[in-house]
């Protein structure tokens, strides 16, 4: 079980690195998907090893996948809108709402 948790931590750390260092908005969204996957691995692992009486963890992971799909749809629509208005999607150029 510990090996699955360690794998999920490494995947989550890589996702954090991507979110912090990517300039491209789509790159940030892809790193977010990596982090969602790490969380899902954790949920399924705990389901198998800690609470195997029912499948609550797997149900929760399914909901996480659905919400991630909704998030990706809205995020990519925002990215298209940004590209239409700015001709570029680098996050350091998008400072309209920066104070």
């Amino acid at each position: 079980m510990l090996q699955y948790l360690a794998l999920a931590s490494i995947l989550f750390a890589i996702g954090i690195f991507g979110v912090l260092t990517r300039r491209n908005t789509i790159g940030i969204l892809m790193s977010l998907e990596l982090m969602f996957n790490a969380v899902n691995i954790n949920l399924v692992t705990f389901n198998k090893y800690i609470g195997p009486d029912n499948l609550t963890g797997q149900i929760f992971a399914t909901f996480v996948i659905v919400v991630a799909a909704a998030e990706a749809v809205v995020g990519l629509a925002i990215v298209l809108l940004l590209y239409r208005n700015w001709r570029g999607i680098e996050v350091d150029r998008i400072n309209l709402m920066k104070w």
Binding site: I14, G27, S31, N54, F63, A69, A70, V73
Partner: protein
């Protein structure tokens, strides 16, 4: 013998996951990193199968590999100038990023190693998909309905956002 084979498969899958995830966050060409993202998602589906979550593995392949990554590739093709390789893809916070994520990694690995886990040695319910369907229709029917409303809202929101002004 069987345990050793599953160990071997696990290490192979995690090797693929980690290497391709590193490529996802570091490659300069954003299109190549989207392709490596697809590889990562496939290997995570393999991990789900190793954890006896067959339905979740199928959902992963259908939704992540089939839908979300296609959506991401579409967005890349609509927005980036792929021919222009000179665009820098990472900002000047790479050192801080490495620092923060290795700090997180150390903290979480340490807490995983130091926690006493109460592992229950019991097999999961037989017939994964049947059990999940029954749970979704009985115990979790309210979140199931709410998540469908979330999907509808995301659909309408994406259409409203991506529509041209005045059209």
């Amino acid at each position: 013998m069987e345990v050793e084979v599953s160990q071997l498969v696990f290490y192979l899958l995690s090797f693929v996951i980690i290497i391709s995830a590193i490529y996802v966050v570091t490659l300069r060409n954003i299109f190549h990193s989207a392709l490596f993202l697809i590889l990562t998602l496939f290997a995570v589906a393999g991990i789900y199968i190793m954890l006896n979550a067959e339905f979740l593995a199928a959902v992963q392949v259908l939704i992540y590999v089939g839908a979300i990554s296609i959506l991401i590739i579409f967005a890349i093709m609509l927005t980036s100038q792929l021919a222009n390789k000179q665009i820098r893809q990472s900002n000047e916070q790479v050192m801080i990023g490495i620092f923060i994520c290795s700090g997180f990694l150390l903290a979480s690995l340490g807490s995983i190693a130091n926690t006493v886990w109460r592992i229950v040695e019991k097999p999961l319910p037989e017939n994964n998909t049947l059990t999940m369907g029954k749970l979704l229709m009985n115990e979790f029917v309210l979140p199931f309905e709410i998540v469908s409303i979330v999907l509808l809202a995301a659909l309408i929101g994406a259409v409203v956002l991506a529509r041209k002004e005045g059209a």
